[in-house]
């Protein structure tokens, strides 16, 4: 004798399929899509469509609330595993470094130029300000950061800071610098939210302090060694800061002038693209941290320091901007 309620007949006919789908979805969620064998892999989309049509039928013909709820959650979970799933972490990472990151950097070239111009202008301004009146220095750079490298210091002591062989707490200091810089990179991306104004301020401040330090060293005739001391990690570090500033500017511009897109969509596109550039900048800053923490201690000569810095800069430029074979790039 047949049961009286539609849901019962319906369950009897399809429950095995639903349960198989549920098992597969749970397996994919817990491990990865590679945990499925070939049969299951072929079956999963079919089972998903079966469950979807079951859901439509159940909504139209059954009053069993539990059944409809169950099918809704099952279809939702299956949908996100079938349509929303990403690659394995390693494959994503490889694609990020090979294609997505340089691609995103290239697309931000206008913002990168603007960011570079801002930095250069700020360096010049900082330099000229401190050269004309050393008192500016104390307004631009806090004592903790100056560490005795102020206009009152002698040329010899300034020179000594560039070639100190002091090793204690060196790794801690390098780590601190890296986390600090990475934090700044994230901020200059995220603060693009406020129409990019804080991002511009961060870039300007960064440039001003650099210019001020440069002025102090140049004023005592050790500008050359200072530039070399800075170049070994500075080319990488400044490039990274400029790029993450560009990412923040992109968001700010998209929010202020969304063009033909809705403001929300423009912000979204800029945010996703900028995030890639910013994430890459953090990786660059890690490299800069290594160069600063280890490279600079090992390499003591001015010439080699400058050379390493220039090689790094050329390397980054080639990596980002050299044309490469087009491929089906997914962002």
């Amino acid at each position: 004798m047949q049961p009286a309620v539609n849901a019962s007949r319906f369950r009897a006919a399809h429950q095995a399929d639903w349960e198989r789908l549920e098992r597969l979805v749970a397996l994919v969620e817990k491990r990865s899509v590679r945990a499925l064998d070939d049969d299951d892999l072929i079956a999963m989309p079919l089972l998903y469509r079966t469950a979807l049509s079951s859901l439509s039928l159940a909504r139209a013909s059954s009053l069993d609330r539990a059944l409809v709820d169950y099918l809704e959650q099952l279809c939702t979970r299956a949908y996100f595993q079938l349509y929303g799933v990403t690659d394995t972490g390693l494959a994503q990472l490889r694609r990020f470094f090979a294609r997505t990151w340089p691609g995103a950097v290239r697309e931000l070239w206008r913002e990168t130029l603007a960011s570079l111009a801002l930095t250069v202008a700020a360096v010049l301004a900082g330099y000229l300000m401190v050269r004309s009146d050393p008192a500016w220095f104390y307004g631009l750079i806090p004592d903790a950061m100056a560490q005795g490298r102020d206009p009152a210091a002698s040329a010899a002591s300034l020179h000594a800071t560039l070639h100190s062989s002091e090793q204690s707490m060196l790794t801690t200091f390098a780590t601190f610098l890296f986390t600090h810089n990475a934090q700044i990179a994230i901020f200059s991306f995220a603060l693009g939210l406020a129409f990019g104004v804080p991002t511009v301020l961060l870039l300007l401040y960064n440039g001003l302090s650099l210019g001020a330090l440069l002025a102090v060293f140049a004023g005592k005739g050790v500008g050359g060694p200072f530039a070399c001391w800075l170049a070994i990690h500075g080319t990488t570090e400044l490039f990274a800061v400029i790029l993450s500033g560009a990412a923040g500017l992109r968001i700010g511009i998209a929010l202020a002038f969304p063009g033909r897109l809705a403001r929300e969509d423009a912000a979204m596109a800029a945010g996703r693209q900028g995030a890639l550039v910013m994430a890459g900048s953090v990786a660059m800053l890690a490299v800069a941290g290594l160069l600063e923490g280890i490279g600079r201690q090992v390499v003591d000569g001015d010439g080699p320091r400058l050379l390493i810095g220039l090689v790094m800069l050329t390397g980054w430029l080639c990596f980002f901007y050299l044309p490469r074979r087009p491929a089906a790039v997914e962002r």
């Binding site: 439509s56 009053l63 069993d64 959650q73 939702t76 949908y79 780590t175 986390t179």
Partner: protein
């Protein structure tokens, strides 16, 4: 069930509306706090680990751990877990929610990084700023108020938009939805009813009451069942027979079958106040 206002139409390419439920602000705050606790736990465990395995220059190693580890955890934790297949951190898994792209497409790495980088500005920037100022003893009332106000704007931002979007969600084009796995409830209509009910008795209720009855039956609390059974019997003028559960199951099956037959004919009845279906 989530409140109706948090339910969003979501049509799959196959043309079926899955009806996503957005996570409530409370759920998301709880998930975030759980994640923070986990991260703190990891840091503490690593610290203890370093302290026990005699590393040379132990204090320096611990210092580096808290500098770099805290930074890497704070940012990496969310990004790593959310780029995974489940799109959820452990905290989100516990609360039964996940991150998905608002357009239903793949959740890309860029989106995950964007939504999590924003958190630095939303929560950690003002708090760490405040922390540094307080530590050096220069946090005045104005600064404190500013930092709290800043955090407050971002913190309560999800409450001021329909979709419970955080600033990071807005920029990344994502939202957080409920995905709760659950077993299929037992089939209440599988057994043929032993009792027979008159048309008048079955005409008392509509779909809303049927599903309320379903909830009572699945809840299986004797006192609730007794109350409901008594109410139905009084209304249908049926004598008590001492078997509340059996009575309710039979009544459910009979009512469900009748309402489903009417539904097939295009005569749905939403609740008991709706016009009584034709005889």
């Amino acid at each position: 069930m989530a409140a109706a206002s948090l339910s969003r139409a979501f049509v799959t390419p196959e043309g079926v509306d899955l009806g996503l439920d957005l996570a409530s602000a409370g759920t998301r705050a709880a998930a975030f706090l759980i994640d923070l606790l986990f991260q703190l736990g990891v840091l503490v465990l690593l610290t203890i680990g370093i302290a026990y395995i005699g590393v040379v220059r132990r204090m320096e190693a611990i210092g580096i751990l808290w500098l770099l580890g805290a930074f890497a955890l704070r940012n990496g934790w969310f990004i790593l877990f959310e780029t995974g297949g489940r799109g959820a951190t452990p905290g989100k898994r516990i609360m039964g929610v996940r991150v998905v792209a608002r357009d239903g497409a793949r959740l890309t790495g860029g989106a995950v990084v964007a939504r999590n980088a924003m958190r630095e500005v939303e929560v950690f920037l003002p708090l760490s700023f405040l922390g540094v100022q307080a530590a050096s003893g220069v946090a005045d009332a104005f600064l404190t108020l500013f930092a709290l106000g800043w955090s407050g704007i971002f913190l309560f931002f999800p409450l001021f938009n329909r979709d419970r979007l955080r600033m990071g969600d807005l920029i990344a084009g994502t939202w957080v939805v409920r995905v709760v796995g659950g077993a299929l409830g037992s089939d209440l209509g599988a057994v043929r009813p032993q009792r027979h009910f008159s048309q008048a008795a079955l005409d008392l209720y509509g779909e809303y009451e049927l599903q309320a009855l379903e909830e009572v039956l699945r809840g299986a609390r004797p006192d609730a069942m007794a109350t409901v059974a008594a109410a139905i019997r009084a209304k249908a003028e049926l004598p008590a027979d001492g078997d509340d559960a059996g009575f309710l199951h039979d009544y459910y099956a009979a009512l469900c079958a009748r309402l489903e037959r009417r539904m097939a004919l295009g005569r749905r009845r939403a609740d008991k106040h709706a016009a009584r279906a034709d005889r």
